[in-house]
Every structure is written in structure tokens, then in C-alpha cells.
Symmetry: C2
Subunit: 197 residues, 2 copies
């Protein structure tokens, strides 16, 4: 069990966890709206839990008494939109000039690569909290920088690159975070054979 | 929290839970094989848990000390295969002549309907344990019988109907449960506009 790579709220990283919650909360609200209006079916996956001990009291709900967080083998979100399989992870940073690659884990990269190979629409949903700017960044760009990290010790993706190859996500009224138009653009570019590389 | 509709192992339904595990275990093994051979990316979703109390001991992993099972809002499995979004639930019955509709929950039907509307490939993966026969049954057929249940108090789908409208899944060597060929047939019939109705 590799503790460091599990995204759960622990006391020493409560600030990170809170930041994490905020983008996820916004995405979850958008997903609820998109589901209710029959525009897309996208859900956050539950955190996997290893159950050790469960009590079954009479006349009331089962209670988990001992359990541990397991490392997810996939990304945060997946679902279906206009016939396309959608798969992404939500990531936040307080940085203002680049996105640190340490926010990605190898298992997420591996999963996204498998999904891209099967024809899925895959990306990182990145929020620069201090700039209040959001982007969806095609998974292929993430793979490119992940490769640079492994082979050339590069540690982040410059914001200039994200502006060039990502698609900006804007706030609106309902839902507040309107990310399907950005997904439409990504789908169009994938269908046109734009490789972003 | 609607206890009755949550598929968790409780003492009084341990036999059902074990039966449930068996088909799921077979499907999970197939999914591992399909993933390792780059044929499909399909995962079982974790059971959602409502955390109430978590301990964070020094120098060891966080321990869940109080938590409750939540009702999933989706089905058991989803993923991507040849560009298609795949979504299904695994169901077992000891019946020999029909599949009882009480094995479905309204939230599963609602979810499958939303996914079909978005162009997903959706089905029930049904195992008749006493017959050792497996079928994938297109979601549209399930909707038809669910409608009959609600309006005409029909309580099950006859095996004859499942044989007629479902696609048989066969055992093989590797993986033992070879269900992608059945999914291929379902995709072909959906693309041909066969409505199964
Ligand atoms: Mg994330
Ligand atoms: Mg099931």
C-alpha cells in the first residue's frame, strides 16, 4: 500500500485536500446538472476501501468498523457523452506559471494511455486556483510531459503550453462550471486528427 | 438510506452475496486479462462509503473507524472498448426458467436509460447459476420488462426471451469468461438499428 500516492485527506495535507474538494465539488455540480438535463452521464468514482471489519447491528444499517483506503487504479471521473467515452482526472495547483507533474501518479497515466488506445476522450481537468483559470488538457500532452519528466527530469508543464494546447473552461450560470463546450472542442480536434504534438 | 436496495453482504443474505461474488469475480478476471492484453478498459466501480470517523495514526495508514455503505447511483461496471462506452450490471439467479426483475433497482434502470440515450452500449450480464448459462441482455429488453413489471405486474423475464434477445457468453481458456465477442455482436446489432423490440 503506497501511502504517499493515495489522494485522501490526511491532517498534514488538509490544505491540499480542501483545494482538491473545491474543483471536484464544482465538477460534481456540473455533472449533476448535465445528468438532469440529459446532456451527459459523468460520475466521480468512489474511493476504493479495503474492508476489514463490518458490524451488522439488528434493525439498523451495517457499520464499517475497520477499513483502509486503497489506491484507485483509475482516474477520478468517467462516463458517456454523445457516444464518446469520457475519462479525466481533476487537478488543482496554486502555482501561477506551471502545473507540477508530481500531481500525477503513474497509475493514472497508465490508465489514461489505455483509454486513449481504446478511443476514449481523455484529459486532465486543471485549475490554477490563484489565477482562477481552468483548462482541459488533452491526455496526449500530459503523456508528452510525463515522458520528459522521466527522461529529462522536467518537473512541470508550463502554463504557456497549457494555454497553447489546452482548452479553456469558463464559468457561467447553470452549471457554474461549463466544461462540455471544451469537451466538444477536444472531440472535434481528435476527429480532425490534430495530435497536439 | 434505503437499506434494502444496497447490495452489500449482510448475514441474512450471505448466500446471495456469495453467488454475486462468483460472477463478479469471473468478470473481474476477464477484465484484468482484457486490460493486460489491451483489448478493453473495463472496471468494477468501488462501493460508495459514507465516512463518519477516520483515525490518522502516526507513521501508519489512515484507519476508517466509522462508515456506512451508500447506495450506488450507477451500475457495477463501465469502461471503454473500441471507442464505445460500455456499461453493465452483473446479476445472478438460481432460477431455471426466468430472471426475476426484483434483482434490478430503479436507480440502475434510470442510469442505464441515461447511458443508452448518450449512445452507450448497455446491458445486463446475467448468469443462471443452476444451468451454468450466461447471457448479455441488451438494456432495451430490460427496460421493456421493467415497464411490464410497473404496469402489468410482471415479475420476471422468461429464459426463452433471454435466449431470443440476449447473446450467449461462453467459457474458454484465457480469459475463462469470454464476453467481448458477445459485446461485439451487441455493437453490431445496435449499429444495424436492430431495436430488439
Ligand atoms: Mg484528482
Ligand atoms: Mg450487480
Amino acid at each position: 500500500l503506497a501511502k504517499k500516492t493515495i489522494d485522501i485527506p490526511t491532517p498534514h495535507k488538509s490544505i491540499y485536500a480542501k483545494r482538491g474538494m473545491s474543483l471536484e465539488k464544482e465538477i460534481n455540480e456540473s455533472n449533476q446538472y448535465y445528468l438532469a438535463t440529459h446532456q451527459a452521464v459523468i460520475h466521480k468514482k468512489p474511493t476504493p476501501i479495503q474492508l476489514v471489519h463490518v458490524d451488522y447491528p439488528k434493525r439498523s444499517a451495517a457499520v464499517v468498523r475497520e477499513a483502509y483506503f486503497r489506491r484507485p487504479s483509475t482516474t477520478d471521473y468517467n462516463g458517456v457523452y454523445k457516444g464518446y467515452y469520457i475519462d479525466f482526472d481533476a487537478k488543482e495547483t496554486r502555482n501561477k506559471r506551471s502545473f507540477p507533474l508530481k500531481n500525477f501518479h503513474q497509475h493514472q497515466i497508465t490508465h489514461l494511455k489505455e483509454c486513449v488506445a481504446q478511443g476514449g476522450i481523455c484529459f486532465a481537468f486543471i485549475k490554477f486556483t490563484e489565477l482562477d483559470e481552468l483548462y482541459i488538457l488533452p491526455a496526449t500532452i500530459v503523456f508528452h510531459y510525463w515522458h520528459l519528466k522521466e527522461h529529462h527530469h522536467r518537473s512541470s508543464i508550463p502554463l504557456t503550453q497549457i494555454k497553447a494546447d489546452g482548452i479553456r473552461v469558463h464559468y457561467g450560470l447553470n452549471p457554474r462550471l461549463q466544461y462540455l463546450p471544451a469537451v466538444d472542442q477536444l472531440i472535434a480536434s481528435v476527429n480532425k486528427g490534430v495530435t497536439h504534438e
